[in-house]
Symmetry: C2
Subunit: 247 residues, 2 copies
């Protein structure tokens, strides 16, 4: 056993963390929303070396006084202006070669923004910050961000099946068929209408608003998500989980 941080620490007097070279730590965010009935991810364009001109996931350094979650939420607000949206830690990427500048360890997060909120800040139409459909990205991303995005999508698909995560992508009120559409978007597969109706109703996570919305055909009932806990989670399982390739 050689020297190690927690198992073989020094005394308070002799402890000196600066003996060890330390990496930079950033948070990077895969921020998703639903636009034009398609799943989109927020990307920023790099203006400098390395990967100049490539698109990247938004992110930034973790400051010394804040937790990882706080850092992620701060970056999220800086990029989008939104608050109180779903945020969850995804995975930590630490390949020593992932950033050519210096050793950077990135703690990646997933954020989901409701379909009624995605315009707030990014609407300045800056050409450097934009939403892209996940199935039509602007070339390979900077750093290992393509890989991070892959892992994020994989996690998203997996969690969709046993959590109520999908609701986070919808506006405050929505119809059942809109919800079904999200599942189809993320899972990339067609679902049966009848079975979906039955299952989602059994789950008891829908709160009818009483409202109707008129459209081309029969008007649809509108619902909101019944929050049984403060946070969105673990109530409705569309079906049993399939494989999540996360390692």
């Amino acid at each position: 056993m050689s020297t190690s941080a927690d198992s073989q620490p020094e005394t308070a007097a002799t402890y000196d963390a600066s003996r060890y070279e330390r990496p930079s730590v950033t948070v990077d965010l895969a921020i998703f929303t639903l636009k034009d009935r398609e799943l989109h991810v927020l990307l920023v364009k790099r203006r400098n070396w390395p990967f100049e001109g490539h698109w990247a996931l938004p992110g930034g350094f973790v400051e010394m006084h804040e937790s990882l979650d706080q850092a992620a939420r701060r970056e999220l607000e800086e990029e989008t202006g939104v608050q109180n949206v779903y945020l969850e830690q995804l995975y930590t990427f630490g390949d020593p070669e992932r950033d050519p500048r210096t050793r950077v360890i990135s703690v990646a997060y997933i954020a989901l923004i409701g379909a009624d909120m995605h315009q707030l800040h990014v609407s300045d139409e800056s050409i450097d910050v934009n939403w892209f459909p996940v199935r039509e990205l602007p070339g390979p991303l900077a750093f290992d961000h393509s890989k991070i995005l892959d892992v994020a999508l994989s996690r998203l698909r997996s969690k969709l099946e046993y959590t109520t995560l999908a609701f986070q992508l919808l506006p405050e009120v929505f119809s059942i068929l809109e919800l079904k559409h999200i599942y189809e978007q993320i899972l990339g597969e067609q679902l049966d209408k009848g079975n979906f109706y039955r299952k989602i109703k059994e789950a008891g996570v829908l709160e009818p608003t009483g409202q109707l919305r008129e459209g081309r055909g029969r008007p649809t009932h509108l619902y909101r998500f019944k929050r049984t806990r403060a946070d969105a989670d673990f109530v409705f399982r569309w079906r049993e989980a399939k494989v999540e390739d996360e390692a």
Copy 2:
């Protein structure tokens, strides 16, 4: 939008990572094995401030040249001497107060050691390194390690249900009822013998060795785990996934 590492980088000329104060980064490991038919975790006793005398998860600093996985595997080998065992990243803990000495961000890993390998190195019976049954720990752990261990156990239970992870805790050859016992240990619940036999056989992940082992009653057939991929994963699902509280 303020300055951020990846989205608003400097030019190569002006880039200077040392402007930012950097945290220390460690890996901490929840190393599990099966001893005396019970799930055990490896702990090390702290000899210095802070948490002197408390038990902690083994771990150590990430070095500048190695990836996180490499750091975890190095620490694992240093503590236990074992190689080629199951290792997976769990979660990253970054509360600024989690270590009173300095800012330390810990990337936590789970490792599973087969029942026939857990004696190799730790057998020196050092009073500072020892296996403990997870349901009978020696007091509250140092730092936030109790929380890390909770998350690890939760993840373990969850993945057990849709992966072949349990095999990693068994010796090279084993009986079906021994496998069932592991599931019961980790899930904390009794399973039906008949249903277990049927399901595990249907799954086609068992390779009969032809061997029999005599015991008190009828001799049992011995099997080994049929590795369909290099890594252990994603073949046998005992039942559909329950809740994993990981956030």
